[in-house]
Amino acid sequence: MKLESTGIPTATVVTEEFLPLALTEARSRGMADLPLIRVPHPVGTLAADSLRSVAERAVDSILAQLVCGKAKASASSAAVPSAIGDDSNLTLTVPSDPAEMFRLFDERGWTDGLPVLPPTPAAVERMIAASRQEREIVLGIIPPLKGIATIEKIAANSVMAGCLPEYFPLVLAAVKGMLRPGYNLDGVQTTTGNVAPLTIVNGP
């Protein structure tokens, strides 16, 4: 994407497994039409002959993206996960029935399947009050989708996860820690390797 923005045409080859991630990254970085060429997954374990035939099948699609006047064979019709909402409303109305509410949250990707509590204005307010900070304060940009982490959004998510307000300052400290460059949250969030953030809390 950096190369495209400096005027150099690119073609990016990704394996099928990584296509959703590549599309999500391209979209979240403001270049939804980044030319992506899909090849079967995985290529990392292929023997030379098989790898060569993957290259032979991909080369025309690559050329089509670099040379003008050729047909655009884009992979952009594939489904893109949309865990993050495009809804800019500050509040939403949802079914009060717990099962129906959970179904909606699940459909929107707001839970990984575990039960969540509704972030009602009152509950979010209690959480924010415990932080003694203004709701609009921005702690940083959360990769890879570049969500703007305000105190209010972190509070709403903490309510959903069942966090008690008195623990909220700890959550904020953890978010700040994860956003330090050395933590490489971008890598942690997108690798297919098995990593998970761990916070060790020590004190009275």
Partner: protein, 95 residues
Amino acid sequence: MNQDQIEIINPTAMRSVRQTRLAPRRLESLRGRRIGLLDNNKPNADKFLGYIGELLKARYDGIELVAKRKMSRTEADCLPELSSDCEAVINAFAD
């Protein structure tokens, strides 16, 4: 809002995204052009691009290839060189 609904704070964040345009596609052919091959240091990515390079050389006279490697997804040390030396770049990312 009727009785069967409640109000919640929208838990999803606004996104910080600046839209960027693709580079214009001006090349009519890769004949005699310098083309970058950028791999991501994953197994076979370099070999895959090597085969692509061979196929391109067989098709286009005078094509020059510049192979580079990105050691991590955020590292970008080789990008200035690619963008000043090459007229198009082929990336091979992910396993």
